[in-house]
């Protein structure tokens, strides 16, 4: 038998990733994106060389998705990845699917990596992005004395990076996790398939953080509260009858990185989401009330035992004997229903990856970073947050024509005295 026909090494999808390929569609792509802007134009040839150099350092990323009889799995991909020009609509499936589960793009001074959620989560993606940027800058002749924790090609991969750490937490004694009721969703018209509107606003990190601290909240809590207030603005602008009909809990989910909590070094998915909400049926909330509610709800939810309870719910679904024995196409049908019901139970998501940094002199050649959340036709507006230096980037991914949530969010920040710089791929310039 020729060597190229031999079975390839493979691994199971992690618990969070198991659902993503089965429920994927033209709009629900599960691709998210991390980008940096350099001070000079990106050289695609150097970028390709840098990418090829770091591929062996991340063996868990060198895979592609293959369907099995019961589950999808990840098989080793021997092909070297390519670098693609930027697209006007990021995070969309390629018409002819690329083989890998991540793709590197460039446009002007910006370099971006799009990851499929079956491969990794935002934190794992950030580790890869930091290594790629470092390698690219090294190839352009900029070396750093102290490389800090950037995972350079010279370092040996840690076997824990490819582990599914959800499985290590399984404890059948945990009680069931309570489901949420249906959440408020603004009524909007979907963009055509293949289009994804992305709007990024940049604000000074220090000033925003001080504003959050003044209210006794963290940055994530402050941004989540602003997003809830932005959705509430849209709800309050509806006619009275429509308001009465559509009043439900306005629930934002916040993905929580479980690595520090459960001592994990995995680069695969390892997160759960926690909800923060206001109930629109109880009347309008002012901003300070929302901040207080979000703060207390998040503090209550950030409990390792509570988070583990949610992990147990997901693991029980995966390990249930009937679920395991169903063939993949049948499983996909059921999972679509389950995922659709889950998406109806929250209004939007806000994912804060925190601060990304590179040691000097690499950091001197980078001006800012961006994190674009994956598109979803159910929860059409989602936000991704990342900061670099003193710049906080909030990126809205929106699958609808209506930019009113982004507008309300950024104008709220502007009214509080924060300077906001906005850019978007929406072609609304034709006035």
């Amino acid at each position: 038998m020729p060597a190229s026909n031999a079975p390839r090494p493979w691994m199971r999808l992690d618990n969070a990733a198991k659902i993503f390929p089965s429920v994927a569609s033209d709009r629900l792509t599960h691709w998210f994106r991390l980008a940096v802007r350099f001070s000079t134009e990106v050289n695609p040839k150097t970028l390709t060389r840098a990418l090829h150099a770091i591929v062996p350092r991340f063996p868990s990323f060198r895979v592609r998705l293959r369907p099995g009889f019961f589950w999808y799995s990840l098989v080793e991909d021997s092909d070297l990845p390519a670098v693609y020009p930027e697209s006007a609509s990021p995070c969309m499936e390629f018409k002819k699917p690329a083989r890998g589960l991540y793709r590197v793009r460039w446009f002007g001074k910006r370099m971006a990596v799009e990851f499929h959620h079956a491969l990794t989560d935002g934190v794992g993606g950030l580790v890869f992005l930091r290594a790629l940027v470092a390698e690219y800058l090294v190839l352009t002749g900029i070396s750093a004395q102290d490389e800090e924790d950037v995972r350079r090609v010279t370092k040996v991969p840690d076997t824990r990076e490819g582990r599914d750490d959800f499985q290590t937490l399984f404890d059948p004694a945990f009680p069931r996790y309570e489901t949420w009721d249906k959440a408020f969703h603004p009524r909007t018209e979907l963009l055509p398939k293949g289009s994804y509107a992305v709007t990024t606003g940049r604000v000074p990190l220090g000033a925003t953080l001080s504003m959050a601290r003044e209210r006794g909240a963290s940055l994530t809590e402050f941004l989540a509260a602003t997003l809830i207030a932005a959705f509430q603005d849209g709800f309050l602008a509806l006619p009275a009858l429509e308001r009465r009909r559509r009043a439900r809990p306005l629930r934002i989910v916040l993905p929580i990185n479980l690595r520090p909590m459960f001592d994990s070094a995995t680069l695969r998915n390892f997160f759960v989401v926690v909800p923060v909400e206001i109930d629109l049926r109880l009347g309008p909330y002012d901003f300070d009330e929302i901040v207080r509610k979000v703060h207390h709800q998040l503090q209550a939810e950030m409990d390792a035992k509570l988070l583990k309870k949610q992990i147990m719910r997901n693991l029980r679904g995966e390990l249930h004997p009937v679920a395991r024995l169903l063939p993949l196409p049948v499983k996909a049908l059921i999972l679509r229903g389950v995922f659709g019901a889950y998406e109806k139970r929250h209004t939007a998501s806000l994912s804060n990856l925190g601060r990304v940094s590179w040691p000097p002199p690499w950091s001197d050649h980078i001006s800012d970073a961006e994190f674009t959340p994956p598109p979803s036709p159910h929860c059409r507006v989602n936000a991704g947050v990342v900061s670099f230096g003193d710049t906080l980037s909030v990126t809205f991914g929106n699958l609808s024509f209506d930019p009113s949530v982004e507008k309300a969010f950024f104008t709220r920040l502007r009214r509080q005295g924060l300077p906001v710089a906005v850019e978007s791929n929406r072609e609304l310039g034709e006035v």
Partner: protein, 241 residues
């Protein structure tokens, strides 16, 4: 950087209108044209700005009225000719029933265009209704419809639905789509043949068995090409659960 005079956010110098509120951005010559933040529409697929404010429901309402006018005119013309020539409604019952069903098919697709399951179900009801109407127009009672018309109307809908579900579930589409299509065509031919022979009082299958002998191996061949020849299968990977 230039800023939006309405919502106060700074925008890229290359932008002519605020991405949030569409307000025109004042142009300052000394700022220069700036670098675009995203590729232009000529390089890659771009968002269509004109649809941001167009109402698709208005377009559909106009289309609905147009279709209604065409079908009503045709119905009136057919009815009038029959009335003038035979002094009653005789042969025109058939085209009138067909026109009503045709109008229902187009109208349901326009009204429920975003809900394919609803208009798919409506189409099934309309086609079954059309067959029942034609049967009733013959002699004023349902003769062949329950045993022949209804099964023939329902079977292709069920099989098409099954095919769509299966094909949409495939993450990688290739020969497996042809395999599904050939399999479902086989089942459809068997069901047509079975229903017709049962209705005529004979029972069993005839010509459809010959067609199946050709189609089933073809379906197996396509599934084989898709799944087996792609790469030597790793059974442990394929069947892990």
């Amino acid at each position: 950087m230039p800023y939006c005079p309405r919502c106060g956010v700074e925008v890229d110098p290359s932008v002519r209108a605020c991405p949030l509120c569409c307000t025109a951005i004042p142009v300052f010559d000394d700022l220069g044209p700036g670098e675009p933040a995203w590729p232009t529409s000529t390089e890659e697929k771009a968002l269509d700005p004109s649809r941001a404010y167009a109402s698709s429901s208005e377009r559909r309402a106009r289309a609905f009225l147009g279709v209604a006018a065409v079908f009503t005119t045709a119905g009136l013309a057919v009815g009038a000719v029959d009335l003038f020539t035979t002094r009653g409604v005789t042969w025109s019952r058939y085209p009138l029933i067909s026109l009503a069903a045709g109008f229902g098919l187009v109208a349901s697709a326009l009204v429920w265009h975003r809900r394919p399951r609803v208009w798919g179900g409506t189409w099934l009801l309309l086609i079954a209704g059309l067959l029942l109407g034609l049967d009733w127009a013959d002699d004023g009672r349902a003769g062949w419809f329950p045993t022949l018309g209804l099964p023939l109307a329902v079977a292709p809908f069920l099989l098409t639905w099954l095919g769509v579900v299966l094909i949409r579930g495939f993450r990688r589409r290739g020969y497996n789509v042809l395999g599904v299509v050939f399999s479902l065509v086989t089942v459809e031919l068997l069901s047509i043949d079975g229903v017709v022979t049962l209705w005529s009082g004979q029972g069993g299958w005839g010509w459809s068995m010959v067609a199946s002998l050709v189609l089933v191996p073809m379906a197996f061949l396509f599934f084989f090409l898709h799944f087996a020849l792609h790469r030597t299968p790793d059974l442990r990977r394929t069947f892990h659960f």
